[in-house]
């Protein structure tokens, strides 16, 4: 069971806590992505797991063994760094072999392992080259090779794709996913890019300011964000946030903003909570565009329509806040010209408490 468990992990620099007691359980063979804005403590957390940073407080277990005080080399983890950390004076084969040589493995065993890794990563033609003579994507692959050649229990990745251009990043992302399928090793992956997180992860851990905001599968976080931070962080374009006040309508609670109202689902929390301030989270994908004659629509002021081929982004404003609608274009162009607002099913609107930013209980969307 090569899982990783973090219990109340704290990192303190002097008097400042940068990681405030994180609890996380990574299952064997699971691919977990830590995602969050820059400076939220993702790298620090990962480096504590690797043993590059001391753990100030809490317990870390790898494969059932308490490893707080175990040296990095004895934790049986491998790490891939953002800037690849390749040795410039060694060629590709020697770079890949470095970890095995350090551990004084047998020569023929090293050669066989390097050969195999070269084949898996498509590096065989470049084994004699120095890192300086490789492209960014190839260097990235060598960095991966150095990690997988040791067959560690746990892989740690710290923003491994950040130095690549967009196209290569997409390609390498797919390659990492394929590699994980093939090797099936427990992986913890750090990124600030929500698209990377959504596409790679079995489970995503959203971090903010040294704390975990939510843990869940990509679709679960997308459909059921626990709070406004997660809601705004995942999805592109992000979820629209509309400040509103609860009122009583004929068919249950309604929300008022400006002069308009919108029907909400009958949540237990919303019964008898007339006047309560809430934030409505509305995914740009969940609304249906409306033209002048649609009944029950919410009106928006359209600024700009971006047509991206099969779909279009409508940039508008609602009660003074920006509001984005994403819609298909096929057979809809005529409607887009006359767009005046949108309609949405009540259960697709996510209601957050205006003070705490937490989603009101009882709202669960199934995939």
């Amino acid at each position: 069971m090569s899982g990783v468990t973090l219990e109340k992990i704290v990192k303190r620099y002097g008097a400042v806590d940068v990681v405030h007691g994180i609890d996380l359980e990574v299952q064997e063979k699971e691919f977990v992505v830590l995602v969050g804005p820059s400076g939220c403590g993702k790298s620090t957390t990962l480096r504590m797991i690797a043993g590059l940073e001391e753990i100030s407080d809490g317990d870390l277990t790898i494969d059932g063994r308490h490893v707080n005080r175990v040296a990095p080399k004895d934790r049986d983890v491998a790490m891939v760094f953002q800037n690849y950390a390749l040795y410039p004076h060694l060629n590709v084969a020697e770079n890949i072999a470095f970890g095995l040589r350090i551990r004084k493995e047998k020569k023929d065993k090293i050669a066989a392992a390097v050969d195999e890794v070269g084949r898996i990563l498509g590096l065989t033609p470049y084994l004699e080259r120095r890192p300086a003579d490789l492209s960014g994507g190839q260097r990235q692959r060598v960095a991966m090779g150095r990690a997988i050649v040791r067959r560690p229990k746990v892989f740690l990745f710290d923003e491994p794709l950040s130095n690549l251009d967009a196209k290569l990043r997409t390609q390498m992302r797919a390659e990492i996913k394929r590699l994980h399928k093939r090797l099936g090793a427990t992986s913890i992956y750090v990124t600030h890019d929500q698209v990377e997180a959504m596409t790679l992860a079995d489970r995503i851990v959203v971090m903010n300011d040294g704390r975990i905001e939510q843990i869940g599968t990509p679709m679960d976080l997308f459909l059921n964000p626990a709070n406004t931070f997660v809601a705004a962080f995942l999805g592109s374009p992000p979820m629209n946030m509309v400040k509103a006040r609860i009122a009583d309508g004929a068919q249950g609670p309604i929300a008022q903003f400006g002069t308009q109202t919108i029907q909400l689902a009958r949540l237990p929390e919303l019964a008898n909570s007339k006047g309560r301030d809430v934030i409505l989270g509305i995914r740009p994908e969940f609304v249906t565009v409306a033209t002048a004659d649609t009944v029950g629509q919410v009106k928006v002021e359209v600024d700009l329509i971006e047509t991206l081929g099969s779909e279009a982004l409508i940039h508008a404003s609602l009660a003074g806040d920006p509001f984005v609608i994403r819609t298909e274009t096929v057979g809809q162009m005529a409607i887009l010209d006359g767009i005046s607002g949108f309609t949405i099913e009540p259960h697709l609107i996510r209601v957050f408490d205006a003070q705490t930013g937490q989603a009101l209980p009882g709202q669960v969307l199934e995939q």
Binding site: G51, V77, A85, P88, F98, I102, R103
Partner: protein, 331 residues
């Protein structure tokens, strides 16, 4: 292009040739381009000026006087007025046992300085790099830099005192262990070790700064990656730090080889005495005695020229070898 008629193809070719011609015509000459560059970046050239002046005045102008190596020079006739005598001075020099001895001593002392003196700053820098305690590290560094800033005269004074037969610390310690007091500085066999050791003591610390700077430039993630891979500090030093600073080491080695015959001659003058000439007299001290003290300027110039030519050949050779085998070179 392949399917197009021949006529069309040749026409295109013509156009290309024409375009190239036009481009060449419009491309300004080298001089004009340098002129433009000076105009645009005159501040940079202004900053370069003092160095160029220094080179011209102190290194190039004296070269005019070098011709006296081939002349029968007299102060009264001047450099231009003295008659040419060809290679006579060189014949005299190479017939002179003292000069041959000076060459031999120069080579031996240089060789020892290189063998023992060159690795020292590298070892020091590597050791400093391993020290984790910051206060200790800074104090130790300051202490080893210090001798560099002390005048050679004082250094020599310290050395002479330390090795003196009556009150010197070395002999005192020797006597504690039941040894005989030795007057080291009058013994030819002791001159080279003392001289080379003094040089190391004086300069090794300061020279280690270059290597410390090079070490500071190594990316920390290389070490972190190695730590995760399981490398010990010793392995990291051998497999990461040393290879990473190798280009710097090679550059320093080339410079060092180029200056190899420039034995720090004021220190020799301060430490040697007629009793130790046998092992201590080098080309530069020979020139000093012949030229300045003996008034044989032309002979001294010939000896100096010989020294310079050998140094030039040395640095060229070192650079070429390095360029071929390590992709690192001065130029």
């Amino acid at each position: 292009m392949i399917n197009e008629p021949q006529l069309h193809g040749s026409k295109t070719e013509e156009l290309i040739v024409e375009a190239g011609e036009a481009l060449r015509r419009r491309k300004p000459s080298r001089m004009v381009r340098i002129g433009d560059h000076v105009k645009r970046e005159w501040q940079l050239y202004l900053m370069l000026l003092p160095t160029i002046l220094w080179l011209l005045i102190f290194l190039y102008k004296p070269m005019y006087g070098l011709q006296i190596a081939f002349k029968d020079y007299s102060i009264f006739r001047g450099v231009a007025g003295s008659p040419w005598i060809g290679l006579e001075h060189f014949q005299t020099l190479f017939g002179n046992d003292q000069f041959l001895r000076a060459i031999k001593n120069t080579v031996i002392i240089s060789f020892y300085s290189l063998i023992f003196g060159f690795p020292m700053p590298i070892i020091l820098a590597l050791m400093f790099n391993e020290v984790l305690h910051q206060t200790f590290k800074k104090t130790a560094q300051t202490i080893v830099y210090l001798p560099h800033f002390i005048s050679s005269v004082i250094i020599a004074g310290i050395v002479i005192t330390a090795f003196s037969p009556s009150a010197g610390i070395v002999n005192t310690v020797l006597e504690w262990f039941g040894g005989e007091s030795i007057y080291f500085l009058t013994r030819p066999e002791w001159f080279r070790p003392i001289f080379v050791g003094t040089g190391i003591w004086q300069e090794a610390g300061f020279q280690s700064i270059v290597y410390l700077a090079a070490i500071a430039g190594v990316s920390p993630t290389l070490y972190e990656s190695a730590v995760v891979d399981g490398a010990s500090r010793w392995q990291m030093m051998w497999k990461i730090t040393l290879p990473s600073i190798l280009p710097t080491i090679i550059i320093m080695l080339i410079i060092r080889i180029g200056n190899m015959l420039e034995v720090s001659f004021e220190m020799i003058i301060l430490l040697y005495q007629p009793a130790t000439y046998e092992t201590a007299d080098v080309v530069n001290t020979f020139i000093y005695r012949q030229g300045i003290q003996g008034g044989q300027y032309d002979l001294a110039a010939a000896a100096g020229l010989f020294n310079a030519v050998v140094a030039f050949v040395l640095v060229m050779t070192a650079n070429t070898i390095s360029k071929r085998y390590s992709r690192t070179s001065l130029w």
